[in-house]
Amino acid sequence: MIQILSRVSNVRSISDNIWAINLVSPEIASIVKPGQFINVKVSESYMPLLRRPFSVQQVNADEITIIFSVYGLGTALLSKKRPGEILDIIGPLGNSFNTEDKFDTALLVGGGIGVAPFPFLTSILKRSTKNIITYLGARSSTHVITQQLENVKVATDDGSMGYHGTVVDLLRKDFSGSQYGNPKIFACGPTPMLRSISKLIQEIQVPCEASFESAMACGFGICQGCPVELVNDEKKYALVCKDGPVFDIRSIRIPYGS
């Protein structure tokens, strides 16, 4: 984990309201693992005050890429950065997806901007001989980001592309038909999606690692601000920024709300 001034080498809109930024950071690029994130100082003033966390979407030589949807002030400011500008970032942060345990088929399940860590995860998985199938859920076709992903199956809320329904429904349907050989699910997306995956997992008994989000003050373990509740653990809470963001989905009591 280092704090570093990193040069923006590219900023582009990759889809409806979704932006990608490339950052030159050999130090982070050389050690980051899929599922980890960086914490970005988006403003030179105190508004917003706190850094904003973003998953590393891809690594190319010296550069890391993040993608994000413009949500509030922080992401709006970020979308206005220009190549050549310098960003103060901290990373790599958090744990990562485990790509080395025993499974043959990686099922990447992402909702909305939750697709963010998958291109990098896919690159790493492709180094092994695992099968990769990617399930993407989005509001509608304009929100689907398939770049750098393998064997993509799409579900949209409005039916404008692929399956008409949620991505977890699509996954359930596929499981109810044929079975994937020795699968493991890698999930990232909004809380309601994680909650339905968690339910599905209980039905189909497939191992699943999921990336969780939480409001964060520091991102590196000093504020205790980002707990998720553990199931049956005397410690009761784990920190998303340090113990996570990736957890065995069965170990987490997923909160209600979005």
Binding site: M1, I2, Q3, K41, Y46, M47, P48, L49, L50, R51, D88, I90, S214, A215, M216, A217, C218, G219, F220, G221, I222, C223, Q224, G225, C226, P227, V228, E229, K235, K236, Y237, P255, G257
Partner: protein, 304 residues
Amino acid sequence: MVVNTEVNIGVLKLNNPVLVASGTFGYGDECKEMVELHKLGGIVTKSLSLNPRIGNPPPRIVETTGGMLNSIGLANIGVKKFIQDKLPFLKSIGTSVIVNIAASSVDEYCMVLSLLEEQEGIDGYEINISCPNVKDGGLSFGTNLSITVEITKRLRSLTTKPLIIKLTPNVTKISDFARAASDEGADAVAVINTLVGLAVDIRTRKPKLSTITGGLSGPAIKPVALAKVYEIARSVKISIIGIGGIMTAEDAIEFMLVGASAVQVGTANFIDPSTAVKVADGIVLYCTQNKIDSVQKLTGAMQY
């Protein structure tokens, strides 16, 4: 010009006046890769209680204009685990180590301090009687003058080490509490802990923190913190450690000018964990530019 950066907080000598505030720097080890820890004036640990505390349910953090609300609820590993797992590293850094204590009863404060008294390498204690985010103790202590007196008196009798009482701004007259601490023999007061605040999510119509109210920190509160330090400086003689919204050396110098002998950097650590180091450097630069040969001379040097 060589600037003397040493300051005294009662019997405690600090290498420089910039510490990191309790709850905003963990136990020091989390930041070792990023921060030149030996350059800190001191590290104040997360508040420690007798037994580990799991803290409050999420959400614990909300950002506000120029600040943030937190409701951590004193989540900590407990004093025994601290002594075992964290103190050895802290001792090795070469900066002053101040252990912050929080408790739900006067007896618990005493027990924690007694356990720490058996250890070497602790340079002083900061007593948190001002946490707004716990049901038992916390603010109900810090807003009660006679309990403030009792806690200070009891702890003073247990240690000759520097004793710092950390005060809450959520009172009508903070100088009364500083005077109580002073009268009972505290070496210093640390001012301020967070202001009680609240935020609502109008979409869900729920409070944004699980505990409804939380503690407000960050640059938004700096003017309030400066006013509290100023009020205390005019009424007690013991040292004041200024806290509240310090992001830059300029901010820290403001605190010293109104009467603080040292300062603590809190929320800023979340944004840049090296803030305190940069603030310490900036104070030296200011002294050099203004031909001030000792940072101590800044304390109370406001012209009015």
